[in-house]
């Protein structure tokens, strides 16, 4: 029964997508149908998970094949789904949080002229995300991977009337393509070394297609590369996968697209750019965990990239004024936590944090959406203040989310973050631990700052009349707030011996990740709690006391202490600027140069600002694609001479 049941899970949202594209023309219907179908998916996922739980632990892996996707002599890739404990929790997150965000969207997007299209995209996204987490092979995973990227692109640029929106959409897609290229190369490498792309052994038409994860030990000792510097194959593959993950999960140095992606509608930021899509990289690393474990070199890269990202994004979040950009950098930072956890071998902890973060970050984004909605599209926190009286539900739920993110006992974020830190302690990753600990202090501080700026003090911009949002928006907020508060229960550490229901999640994931639960470290938990409470209070009090000084164009109260560093933080350590100068600029110059030299007939206005050097060269040779036939013949002849002399040279 499970065999066909799991097919329905991605098919329902797909049905919603098709209906919204081809049938539905009315706003009301679109929202209801889309939400109902995703909700149906969620119910099915619950049923499937319960059924999975009813099976013996070793057998908890269901694979069903729809058809043989690619079948050549050596390569056989089935179009098949996989349902195992790891997949089940991901599916529950995607459909559960996704369903709530769909409901929320009904209220948030009310009155938008393209709302049907919006729900179509949203449903397509859920379908693709489910494909991603349910794929039983790398290629299908990649299909979902690209599919969610596509939907993300479409949704970031949804309000394309705003210039920034389409620019941000393109940026997201192009940056992600770098990661995707690495992912494809990793697939090729996996295929050439294992001859298969399926994760686990699976039977198709009576033939067993072997899975590659079980064969990873064979890689031991295999190397490639020049003789003076050989590289272990496992390192090569895992490193390529890591690059893929840095793109999708917005890690250093490819995180620059995520803050810009906030140009999309806020529910989209919540669903795609916080709760689900951006966690795909972490999920993929957990799924291919044996390859990463086989390469200590990559593992340490993973850990350090995670720590570095957590720190950079955490500091950048301190200095943002846009309510959503704070959350965006915070997301990047939390993803850094998860990646770092993977790098330290704590995959179960990473998934735990992924789940809790998915819930409380969705809550925070939806809360910010409610604030934006209630203040008539104000996003600048300098124009807010004192909203707690006008928007009580939003305020209280936001407080829960902020507390969870900051790591306040006993909210969910505390438990998941603590699990990661505790693992760092017990495995002896001291430098990484310090980095992550500082990052978590930063988290508490900027959340304190944000809560203070939005909800405390007095309203700084009198131009709007703040009001609470409607029920379609507040009900999901309340549900998510409850979730954010109690989600820690799913993986409590063993606080005292003989404690029931401890580390449920780690045990549930055991068939996939083979991990033992970490030990609870009371000292660390104490420090973390004190730090979180202290820094949170500090952030709150600094900005509440100086609330009057905050105004558009004015300096941040913290500027007094930090000085010009504040500018550096606001620009996220100038990583984006660096790309603009070092990559985009020259890239445009080259494009322009090529256009001028080879093809002056088709220069795009997009490519402006040629470097002087290129301009100088271009005037000399720009007539190459001049339309003169003799010119073409000459180039042809040059080619002939080169090819001939090369051939004859070898023959000599």
């Amino acid at each position: 029964m499970l065999n066909w049941l799991i097919w329905l899970i991605p098919l329902l949202p797909l049905l919603g997508f098709l209906l919204n594209v081809f049938v539905i023309r009315q706003e009301r219907q679109a929202g209801l149908v889309a939400s109902a179908l995703v909700g149906g998916s969620f119910l099915l996922a619950v049923v499937a998970t319960v059924m999975l739980g009813g099976m013996p632990e070793e057998e908890r892996r269901v694979q069903t094949i729809a058809w043989e996707w690619i079948g050549t002599g050596t390569l056989s890739i089935p179009f098949g789904l996989l349902f195992d404990p790891l997949t089940s929790v991901m599916v529950l997150l995607v459909t559960g949080v996704g369903g709530l965000i769909h409901v929320y969207s009904i209220g948030y997007m009310h009155g938008d002229p393209r709302v049907v299209r919006y729900f179509a995209y949203l449903n397509l996204f859920v379908t693709m995300m489910l494909m991603l987490v349910m794929a039983n092979n790398m290629l299908l995973l990649f299909l979902g991977w690209e599919g969610v990227g596509l939907c993300s692109f479409l949704l970031i640029g949804f309000w394309f009337e705003r210039k920034v929106a389409s620019a941000a959409a393109v940026k997201a897609f192009v940056v992600n393509r770098i990661g995707d290229a690495a992912f494809i190369l990793a697939m090729l490498a996996i295929f050439s070394h294992f001859g298969t792309l399926t994760f686990y052994d699976v039977e198709v038409d009576g033939q067993i297609i072997p899975g590659f994860l079980a064969q990873v030990p064979n890689l031991l000792g295999q190397t490639f590369g020049p003789e003076w510097q050989t590289i272990a194959v496992a390192t090569g593959i895992s490193f390529l996968l890591l690059i893929g993950a840095t793109g999708k999960s917005a890690q250093f140095p490819l995180f620059v697209w995520l803050p810009d992606a906030m140009a999309g509608p806020t529910p989209v930021s919540a669903l795609i750019h916080a709760a689900t899509m951006v966690t795909a990289g972490v999920y993929m690393m957990a799924r291919t965990e044996p390859i990463f474990v086989a390469s200590p070199a990559t593992q340490s890269w993973v850990a350090w990239i995670g720590v570095l990202t957590a720190l950079i994004a955490g500091t950048a979040a301190l200095a943002q004024w846009d309510i959503k950009r704070v959350l965006a950098y915070s997301t990047v930072s939390q993803l850094g936590f998860m990646v770092a956890a993977c790098g330290m071998g704590a995959y179960a902890a990473a998934i735990f944090h992924l789940l809790t973060h998915g819930i409380f970050k969705a809550l925070l984004f939806l809360g910010s959406g409610s604030v934006i909605h209630g203040t008539h599209d104000t996003q600048d926190m300098r124009k807010m203040g004192g909203l707690r009286t006008a928007m009580p539900t939003t305020y209280w739920t936001y407080l829960v989310g902020a507390g969870a993110l900051a790591g306040i006992v006993p909210l969910s974020g505390f438990w998941s973050k603590d699990e990661i830190l505790a693992h760092a302690v017990s495995a002896g990753y001291w430098p990484q631990l310090i980095g992550l600990f500082i990052a978590s202090l930063l988290t508490a501080f900027y959340m304190g700052r944000q809560v203070s700026l939005i909800f405390f003090g007095t309203q700084r911009d009198p131009h709007y009349h703040a009001h609470e949002s409607g029920q379609a928006m507040t009900v999901p907020l309340v549900i998510l707030a409850v979730g954010a508060a109690i989600a820690g229960l799913m993986n409590l550490p063993t606080l005292f011996s003989g404690m029931p229901a401890a580390h449920l999640l780690t045990d549930w994931l055991k068939p996939v990740l083979h991990e033992e639960a970490g030990k609870f470290n009371p000292l660390l938990a104490l420090f973390a709690t004190l730090g979180a409470v202290g820094m949170g209070y500090l952030g709150w009090s600094v900005y509440t006391r100086n609330a009057a000084k905050v105004k558009v164009g004015g300096q941040d109260p913290a500027y007094y202490y930090t000085g010009d560093i504040w500018d550096t933080l606001e620009a996220a350590w100038y990583v984006d600027t660096l790309y603009q100068r070092a990559v985009v600029g020259p890239f445009r110059s080259i494009g322009n140069f090529l256009a001028q030299v080879f093809d002056p007939q088709g220069i795009d206005g997009l490519v402006v600002g040629t470097g002087r050097f290129f301009g100088w060269v271009a005037t000399g040779v720009r007539q190459l694609q001049s339309g003169y036939v003799r010119m073409y013949a000459l180039v042809f002849t040059v080619g002939v001479v080169l090819v001939l002399s090369f051939m004859l040279m070898i023959a000599w």
Partner: protein
């Protein structure tokens, strides 16, 4: 005096070719004498019927193989599958042109038989096993295309394009002939299988230097025909100048047929020279992938953009050709099919947006297309993503197939370039998508969608998606066309 003994000929083996040529010749007469000037579409329908008949005639040949005409042509499954692809190309092109020609005031009945002759040339290139026959196939195709390129006269760009193509084509033909002569001088035969035999035979005194020079010249000619850098310079100008259906036909037909012939030459005649041609083709492939995709980056003219994109795709196809193995040939066939459908579809959309006068093929024409014609915009998005190699489209499957094959075949560094350039390529394909979905329509440009175009776009779009989601049957079919030894 003795009478000449004509050797026995197995006409079955060239049945599709025979049908296409005869039909075309008869159609010429029918067109002149039986079809009134205002009913020229009828000629087009008859031409499509001829291509369909040829396709049907080919079906019973699935289990037939052999060579005839003194081993000058061969029938095998490789050539049979290519024949079908070429017939599809011809039929789709004619469908596109049915209303395009009258709309642009350039309707002449001869257009349709000419397309059939070009298809015949392509089939000949797929079936030929002798350098002379290959040369004649290339010429039959090329001469037809020179005429078709200039078909939109007195539009100056069309005439100019035809002239350029003719001059450069003649230039290349000279190299081809000289290459054949040198090859003959070196091994004493023009038959592909015999060349390999002589090369493998230590007793035969082959002249390697001459052969190398000859082989290089032949490679160069094909490099020109499929537009490999630096022999690609004609592509943007010619595509832009020729009537759009002809550009569509050229972009997939010439490429497919030329690569088909090149593959057969490399596999059947010159496997012994692999150490020599492999690095040369490797360099060309790398250059082609890089320059082709970079060149497309800054184009605002969609036809020129597609021209550069076709240059880039030639590089990817070349990867599969260079792996002289069964898998390589399969990858080539699959890529050709996928690319054919996708590119023809994309050109069909361009035609739908082409204005009768003042045609600039500007990217701006696509602005806000989703609002005006949602289905057309969706189809174009599918084609663009397929060309860029984004799943779940045929283009992605094809690229994946080619890259895995090339990677297995030891062309790792070329695969790296291929993956990186196709990551880059997404940028300019995406620009079309952005214009369609993320801009409000401006101006009053209304797409003209006649029945032929709609059918083309529907077929191409549907199959592009289908082969992306369920490619297995096609791959299965392609796999059955075993070509490793050219037999």
């Amino acid at each position: 005096m003795d009478s000449i003994q004509i050797p026995p000929i197995d006409f079955r083996l060239i049945a599709p070719l025979l049908v296409v040529t005869t039909w075309a010749m008869v159609l010429l007469l029918v067109d002149v004498f039986a079809i009134p000037a205002n009913r020229k579409k009828l000629t087009g329908y008859l031409a499509i019927a001829g291509l369909v008949v040829a396709g049907l005639v080919a079906i019973p040949l699935w289990d037939v193989s052999g060579s005839t005409f003194s081993n000058m042509v061969v029938l095998d499954r490789y050539s049979l599958i290519l024949t079908w692809i070429f017939l599809i190309i011809g039929a789709l092109t004619i469908t596109m042109a049915l209303d395009y020609l009258p709309r642009h005031g350039i309707e002449q009945g001869e257009f349709y038989p000419l397309i059939m002759f070009a298809v015949a040339g392509m089939i000949l290139m797929a079936q030929g096993t002798d350098l002379i026959v290959l040369f004649l196939g290339v010429e039959l195709l090329s001469i037809t295309l020179y005429i078709l390129t200039g078909f939109a006269y007195p539009r100056l760009t069309s005439e100019e394009a035809a002239m350029k193509y003719l001059v450069l084509g003649a230039f290349a033909a000279g190299f081809f002939i000289y290459g054949i002569a040198l090859t003959y001088g070196a091994v004493g035969t023009t038959n592909l299988a015999l060349i390999a035999e002589r090369l493998a035979d230590p007793a035969a005194e082959t002249n390697q230097l001459l052969l190398l020079a000859g082989a290089s010249l032949i490679l160069i000619t094909f490099a020109f025909k499929v537009a490999l850098v630096p022999f690609h310079m004609w592509t943007p100008d010619v595509y832009e100048g020729s009537p759009t259906p002809v550009a569509a036909f050229m972009s997939v037909g010439t490429k497919g047929a030329s690569f088909a012939a090149l593959l057969r030459i490399l596999v059947t005649a010159l496997p012994a020279l692999e150490p020599f041609w492999l690095p040369v083709l490797g360099m060309l492939a790398a250059l082609t992938m890089i320059i082709g995709n970079l060149g497309a980056l800054s184009q605002t003219n969609v036809k020129r953009m597609l021209a550069y994109s076709s240059v880039g795709h030639a590089g990817y196809i070349l990867l599969s050709i260079m792996v002289v193995s069964e898998r390589g040939a399969q990858a080539f066939l699959f890529y050709t099919l996928a690319y054919t459908l996708t590119n023809l579809g994309a050109f069909a959309v361009v035609i739908a947006l082409e204005q009768r006068s003042n045609a600039t093929w500007s990217l701006d024409d696509f602005t806000g297309l989703y609002k005006r014609q949602p289905l057309l915009a969706l189809a174009m998005a599918v084609f663009m993503f397929s060309l860029a190699g984004v799943p779940p489209t045929a283009g992605f499957m094809a690229k994946f197939y080619v890259f895995t094959t090339a990677y297995e075949g030891g062309l790792g560094w070329l695969v790296l370039i291929g993956v990186l350039t196709s990551a880059l390529a997404v940028f300019f394909y995406l620009r079309v998508v952005i214009r369609m979905f993320m801009h409000e329509p401006q101006g009053e440009l209304e797409p003209t969608l006649d029945r032929g175009l709609s059918a083309d776009i529907a077929i191409a779009g549907g199959l592009t998606l289908l082969f992306g989601i369920v490619p297995a049957p096609i791959i299965f079919l392609v796999e059955r066309s075993l070509v490793a030894a050219g037999g």
